[in-house]
């Protein structure tokens, strides 16, 4: 809460306070412009890939963010994404309607969110266990009901946003993306706005920091937690739908491949803020994109070293710059109405 207060004191003091962030922003912008001037095709390819790789990660992180801000730790993001990916794929196979498939994927995620909220809020079950149950269940359900040889009926295609897409560099990177990618970027802003500038957001944060105080002033702690976890589930569901409808085009066993856990890391890395998480997701997306490029350029390193880069980088950044991150105080603690 003190974070938002200081942020309103003016942008200059914000820049001074966050000197590392400012420095990183300047370096990143500078090197992008430099890279674009030297080799525009590769730069655009790398940046566009960065955006797309970061999409499922930021969606997963936003899911975790909503939960934790209201006091529910969600380590079941991986499972929510996996089941949503599976259901969205089936919806696409059987209806051929991509929009419907996205909605069904989000609904599947929301349903699992409701299940998590039931365990965490109503049953007051340990939230780590609740999330683990969802993860195991997802592996089981998607594996058991997996049918080999289903073929997809189309994939979400990039949409050019008219004249915006013609802006050099920014156009092809930001304004020529498939729908879920746009949605993810919009959601970052929406979640930030809702969380920090609306009554609902204030209530959510109050419930996540000090539920008994929130209860005293008449906020329904259980309801706030339920709604946030369900909304988060829907967002994670979008992340799952991204994988089958936009990224890969079909379903494979365990295809989330740890992205849900990465999203968790990204959420903490971004210090429980939407923009922080987005930055972390983009950093990841970038290292993924770079990884492919480096291999393409024939950089003489074992692929496993390049493959480890994003993870080692995260650890270094976390230990060096970010340091002690503080979770919402009531995150992970079931609320007992007293």
């Amino acid at each position: 809460m003190e974070l938002t207060a200081s942020r309103r004191n003016g942008s200059i003091s914000w820049l001074v306070k966050n000197k590392w962030l400012t420095l990183i922003a300047i370096i990143v912008t500078g090197s992008i412009i430099f890279a674009y001037a030297t080799n525009d095709v590769v730069t655009i390819a790398v940046l566009a890939r960065t955006i797309r790789e970061s999409t499922p990660l930021i969606l997963g992180a936003l899911c975790g963010l909503l939960g934790e801000r209201s006091g529910v730790v969600n380590i079941g993001i991986e499972g929510q994404m996996l089941i949503a990916a599976f259901i969205a794929f089936l919806a696409n196979v059987y209806t051929g309607n991509l929009v419907l498939a996205i909605i069904i994927g989000a609904l599947a995620g929301a349903l699992l969110g409701a299940f998590l909220a039931f365990m965490a809020v109503t049953l007051k079950m340990d939230q780590i266990i609740g999330g683990t149950i969802i993860n195991i269940l997802a592996v089981g359900l998607t594996g058991y009901f997996y049918v080999a040889g289903l073929t997809t009926r189309g994939k979400l295609q990039p949409i050019s946003l008219g004249p915006l897409a013609d802006i050099p560099l920014i156009g092809p990177v930001l304004f020529k993306n498939p729908p879920i990618t746009y949605l993810a970027i919009i959601l970052v802003f929406v979640v930030h706005y809702v969380l920090f500038y609306t009554r609902w957001g204030l209530r959510t944060r109050a419930v996540g920091e000090h539920p008994s105080a929130a209860d005293t002033v008449g906020i329904n702690v259980y309801k706030v937690r339920y709604i946030n976890v369900i909304l988060g589930g829907a967002i994670a569901g979008l992340g799952g739908a991204y994988l089958t409808l936009e990224g890969v085009g079909s379903f494979e066993r365990m295809m989330t491949n740890g992205r849900g856990f990465l999203a968790l890391a990204i959420l903490i890395f971004g210090k429980w803020t939407p923009f922080g998480a987005w930055g972390a997701a983009l950093l990841f997306g970038f290292t993924y994109a770079l990884q492919t490029q480096l291999q393409f350029w024939g950089v003489n390193l074992p692929p496993q070293f390049i493959g480890s880069m994003p993870y080692i980088l995260t650890i270094l950044v976390l230990a060096g710059f970010v340091g002690r991150s503080r979770a919402p105080a009531a995150s992970g603690v079931p609320y007992e109405k007293g």
Partner: protein
């Protein structure tokens, strides 16, 4: 607990003892029953025969000496990874990285197992085991040190290190430690020497016995030593621990080192006792299963053993089930999730068997992310 004097205190004590045992095991027993029941319903819905599937599962896990051996083989690494996760939980740490520590332990044990020649088994086996455990401990020390000195969250660091471990082992089996024999085209290490192989005595893998003894040792460490007391204090409330003069940073590092050691042993035992070499893919998920085992066992070292046995038996039997009853083996995961649900949701389970709730055995692990 106050004892009410009765005419026959001996008999009374016996009754009480029995009731306590039932109180302790009733929840898991009912949870397993409900898990199998819901599994059966899913099997029925998808058109398979639950009786056929479950009898194949039972046959594959306990139906013959060979099946029992397979079950124990699957159980052994799970006991270790379960202990690793449970131990970290006791100190308030969530070690998602047991998987990575296990991989590192497995490959180092393989290296020591195949590369050092001319040792008698009595030296070679402990040496390879120790090397694997030590490698896991060192790998576990990284998140511990980072958490203690920079505050980097152990959940993120261990998740990241899982990927790094996967890459390191992949690099080693494709490069310097690849099996050099001319017929080999697979990315894997050479077979360990016979002197490093953990023997199987009468269908009981020696590794299993070591695992059970380790569980006892871990119990002793947690509940009967000053160190264990300090660790638990840090886990319950680290600020209070700080006030009491416990060096919290040191405890965090130590907890992660021991957790990593246990996971490393798990990998080493898997290598030396079952796979007999390091081959990627053989130990996928063992570390993550450790989380399940620790939670099922309510993070108690002795609870971990039956939990690992349950999971190990299902894993061992699932292949037979898939082969004979044509049921996809992922049904096991569904059943596991349901069992875990009913163990954790003891409010519901107790209502089903009409038992009063006792506060003392509620499972709580996370004191919140902030880890205070």
């Amino acid at each position: 607990m106050t004892t009410i004097p009765t005419t026959n205190p001996d008999e009374d004590r016996k009754k009480k003892w029995l009731r306590q045992i039932w109180h302790g095991i009733s929840i898991p027993v009912v949870a397993v029953f409900l898990g199998l029941l819901i599994g059966a319903i899913i099997l029925l819905i998808s058109g398979a025969s639950p009786i056929e599937a479950y009898s194949a599962l039972l046959k594959g896990s306990f139906g013959s000496p060979a099946a029992i051996q397979r079950t124990l083989e699957k159980t052994t690494p799970l006991i270790f990874s379960g202990l690793a996760v449970a131990f970290a939980f006791k100190a308030g740490l969530f070690n998602i990285g047991a998987q990575g520590q296990l991989l590192i332990g497995a490959i180092v044990a393989a290296f020591v197992g195949y590369s050092i020649e001319g040792l008698p088994p009595l030296i070679h086996i402990p040496l390879a085991l120790a090397a694997g455990g030590l490698a896991g401990a060192l790998y576990g020390a990284i998140p511990g040190i980072l958490k203690a000195y920079t505050g980097a969250h152990e959940v993120i660091v261990t998740i990241m290190l899982n990927y790094v471990a996967y890459n390191i082992t992949n690099y080693l089996v494709n490069g310097p430690w690849k099996d050099p024999s001319p017929t080999n085209v697979i990315a894997r290490t050479a077979r360990i020497l016979p002197s490093a192989e953990l023997p199987i005595i009468n269908h009981i893998p020696l590794g299993f016995i070591i695992a059970v003894l380790t569980a006892a040792l871990v119990w002793w460490l947690i509940y009967r030593t000053t160190l264990g007391f300090e660790l638990r204090t840090v886990g319950l409330n680290s600020s209070a621990a700080q006030y009491a003069g416990i060096r919290v940073a040191r405890m965090i590092i130590l907890a992660m080192v021991i957790s990593g050691l246990l996971a490393g042993f798990g990998g080493a035992v898997e290598t030396l006792g079952i796979v007999r070499r390091y081959e990627p893919g053989f130990n996928v998920g063992l570390g993550f299963d450790g989380i399940t085992v620790a939670l099922l066992g309510k993070t108690s070292p002795f609870g971990v053993i039956p939990a690992a046995l349950l999971l190990g038996a299902m894993r061992a039997g699932s292949n037979v089930m898939q082969l004979e009853a044509h049921v996809a083996k992922e049904i096991i995961d569904i059943i596991t999730a349901v069992i875990l649900f009913f163990v954790a949701a003891d409010v519901i389970t107790r209502r089903i068997i009409r038992q009063r709730t006792a506060d003392d055995d509620q499972v709580t692990l996370s004191t919140g992310w902030s880890g205070k």
